[in-house]
Subunit: 169 residues, 2 copies
Amino acid sequence: MHIDAAQIASHSLIWTNTKSDAVAKPPKENSPITEHLAYLLAQANREINRQLELRLSKEGVPVEQWRILKVLSDGNGHSMGELADAVLLNHPTLTKMIDRMVSDTLVYRVQDPKDRRKVLMFISDRGKALCRRLNSLAVSQEEHIVESYGDKSTNELKRLLESLIGSAN
Amino acid sequence: MHIDAAQIASHSLIWTNTKSDAVAKPPKENSPITEHLAYLLAQANREINRQLELRLSKEGVPVEQWRILKVLSDGNGHSMGELADAVLLNHPTLTKMIDRMVSDTLVYRVQDPKDRRKVLMFISDRGKALCRRLNSLAVSQEEHIVESYGDKSTNELKRLLESLIGSAN
DNA sequence: CGCCAATCCTTGAATATTCAATATTCTCAA
DNA sequence: TTGAGAATATTGAATATTCAAGGATTGGCG
């Protein structure tokens, strides 16, 4: 939405976006931000995450807690560092979130007997029960995405994302 | 329950990269979290964003400020609401970030004469100069991604992300 | 052994974000 | 015309995250 045409003055180069191009080119320095992979990822993530957040709010649980419960629901003990990587949280943030979950008796800490620097996290029965309800909500969200976005696109997108993550390390 | 730390140390939790699988299936309720689209998006976004952040830190500027400068660099006035949507920030967060950028004289506010509830944001010359340097850093990052990830994958991923965003609204 | 560096987690202070409430301006219908 | 309600941006308090530092434990090496 352009309000004041007088402000446009000093820009010398004008770029017309040739829609006819079949394939998106790598962005030039003056390309709109919407052509940057980093932006598209952030935008898609924001939207999908918001939808998921909305569903999970039925149980009053943030997305990160669902991730934690899901990782722990294999029944094994997971150290804080391992868990932080898995659930995409920095260590101090995870520590404080775990504090909350411990006082909600969703998870509990055990000192690792093999390496006493470590703390192993376990899921409680209450945590398991909550995790089941959350899984159901999350799956229904993904089904909803597949409905409007298509099965093929969804699978292809997942495949490409996995591959991107793999190539980025 | 007793803890066998040897189990934990030995298996890789996060990236079980099953390249051989032909097609990812929609996640069941007990699927690992790595099969959820929402998680893959968050993971990819986190990684790419961190890389970009690292590059932009050369200029001491957070990613969001680059987005703001880039959107404003069309030379037109953009209202706060419009801008907030474009740069993926909530309104109060944007207001406070703009406050900082104004005191750095990167952008400036003008009350919209057509609708005095609105504030139009403009980029300053200093902001333009910074934006050019940032664009160069951002483009070089994307080139780096294309190098290791491939031209075809990158373009296909972008296409799918655009389509996902479109279908989610 | 004994020491020093590295690893792991947590803490506290600084910083940033979000939620709810506010102020201002606009819209529109009575 | 005017008043109620919607739209826009900002503010302040509550909350959350991050950064830097610390305490505890381990591993390795002289």
